[in-house]
């Protein structure tokens, strides 16, 4: 999957879970500060993303995923591993 494909699929998950407009889910956006995704919704996003992208995102890693770009980069690395 390309970076843009991952971003777009992740944007759909964020929209489904938190109601954020998918077009607003861009790489430079912070989940908490820009998109208003609270901590429990973030857990839901992570679990949906694990299934969608076939990766594992440990709980300890979630706190490092501050922006959409952080999450997309993590998923790309995990898919490549």
């Amino acid at each position: 999957m390309s970076t843009e494909e991952i971003r777009a699929a992740l944007a759909d998950i964020v929209n489904e879970v938190a109601g954020v407009d998918a077009d607003d889910v861009q790489l430079d956006k912070s989940f908490v500060d820009d998109l208003d995704v609270d901590s429990l919704s973030m857990v839901e996003v992570v679990v949906e993303a694990e299934e969608k992208f076939g990766v594992t995102i440990p709980d300890d890693e979630v706190k490092n995923l501050k922006t959409v770009g952080d999450a997309v980069a993590y998923i790309e690395r995990a898919q490549a591993a």
Partner: protein, 431 residues
């Protein structure tokens, strides 16, 4: 002469409901007066679609229920609904309607309310059973990682009350009475007490239930509480009729805005009725069966009358618990004779579960809405499907809408629950 004069008076200034007959109070009242049943085939109910598709629905011993007339997902914003159990969705819809109906939404927008003086008493009989079981299903299918992190705040019994507290900024007591099928009525009784005790000026009170799921259906059917009548769904709930054979499960919520009379009058609110008194008792007889002579229920009615200093001769209407079970319907008739004496046959009695089915923890609240509207419109709603009155029942049961007398009258709302819980609330007419 009826009515205590030397204490804080509690009045009803707002009503709301969503239930099998209607998605709001107006549609519900119009439907009830028209004698319209909200009981449907589960196969025709959108909320039951997952189990119709899986085939489980066809294996259940019961194929009907009073499913919501309006799906909550058609009313609530999608992400909001996603974070709420179905029972909280119903409660939020009913409470929001009641809140707007009372005019308190405008007072709040004008910053005229003190949230520290606003409470909530929103009951649930069973809690968030859909959330609990759907997450269990997900865990078995896909593993513990798939259990929603929102499961606990969604399924906890006080989630509906807490949801309303968040919605309206209520910061006085936020209570969740749990007494099975008496829960909704108990919430109203406790809410009135909060206001009388000076702990709140306003309490949003009621009950909710969303238990139309294969497991509760199987459980109630296996304990032989549900009707297994395979006929036209609209005819199955038939309180006091000789052909009754159990209740029909319903879902939904009812909500009232209760307010001290002083607070309501100061803001020029419309007052539907007064909460005159309430009685709460227990049978200590059996975990599921009612006392066959209805002694605990009689004591609840007597306490409600005494609490409101009510002359039994002023009672003009009863919205009975009347679930359409062989034993319970007769026991309630005995209670009315034991408490109202010779006046029992002068009272116009309605069994609205004939149309709504049994909303369990929401029942007492929905029936409070019906009782209050009966006083407001001076009209007792009908009991449908009463073709052949059980000879053990000597009551004047409304089978068509019946006019209630003018002047100061009292209406009783009865609820009885598993665990031996009995609650009676007496409402007085206003104007």
């Amino acid at each position: 002469m009826t009515g205590q004069t030397n204490r804080t008076r509690v009045v009803v200034t707002g009503i709301g409901t969503t239930n099998p007959v209607g998605g709001n109070a107006t549609d519900t009242w119009d439907g009830m007066v028209a004698g319209r049943s909200g009981v449907r085939r589960l196969a025709d109910s959108p909320g039951f679609a997952p189990w119709v598709e899986s085939g489980l629905a066809a294996e259940l011993p019961v194929g009907i229920a009073g499913t919501a007339a309006v799906e909550p997902s058609d009313v609530l914003e999608r992400v909001r609904a996603r974070r709420l159990d179905r029972s909280s969705q119903f409660a939020l819809i009913a409470a929001t309607e009641a809140w707007k109906d009372s005019g308190l939404d405008a007072a709040q927008a004008a910053d005229e309310l003190d949230g520290d003086r606003i409470g909530v008493a929103m009951a649930s009989g069973i809690g968030g059973v859909h959330t609990l079981l759907s997450n269990y299903d997900a865990m078995l299918e896909k593993g513990p990682r798939r259990v929603s992190p929102l499961s606990v705040p969604m399924l906890m019994a006080n989630a509906p009350a807490a949801t309303i507290s968040l919605e309206i900024g209520a910061r006085a007591a936020v209570n969740t009475p749990v007494s099975a099928c008496a829960s909704g009525n108990e919430a109203i009784a406790l809410a009135a007490d909060q206001i009388r005790l000076g702990r709140a000026d306003i309490v949003v009170a009621g009950g909710t239930e969303a238990a139309i799921h294969p497991l509760p259906i199987a459980a109630f059917a296996n304990m032989m509480a549900l009707s297994k009548n395979p006929g036209d769904p609209a005819t199955v709930s038939r309180p006091w009729d000789t052909g009754r054979d159990g209740f029909v499960l319903g879902e939904g919520a009812g909500a009232l805005v209760l307010e001290s009379e002083e607070h309501a009058k100061a803001r020029g609110a419309r007052i539907y009725a007064e909460v005159l008194g309430a009685g709460i008792t227990a049978d200590s007889h059996d975990i599921a069966q009612p006392d066959p002579e209805g002694r605990g229920g009689s004591r609840a009615i007597l306490r409600a009358l005494a609490d409101g200093d009510i002359d039994p001769a002023d009672v003009a209407h009863v919205n009975a618990h009347a679930t359409s079970t062989p034993q319970g319907d007769v026991a309630e008739a005995l209670m009315l004779h034991a408490t109202l004496g010779g006046h029992a046959t002068d009272v116009i009695v309605s069994g609205t579960k004939s149309m709504t089915g049994h909303l369990l923890g929401g029942a007492g609240a929905l029936e409070a809405v019906a009782t209050i509207l009966a006083l407001h419109h001076r009209l007792a709603p009908p009991t449908i499907n009463l073709d052949d009155l059980d000879p053990a029942v000597e009551l004047d049961i409304a089978t068509k809408p019946r006019d209630l007398p003018l002047g100061d009258i009292v209406a009783l709302n009865n609820s009885f629950g598993f665990g031996g819980a009995n609650v009676a609330v007496a409402f007085g007419s206003v104007g």
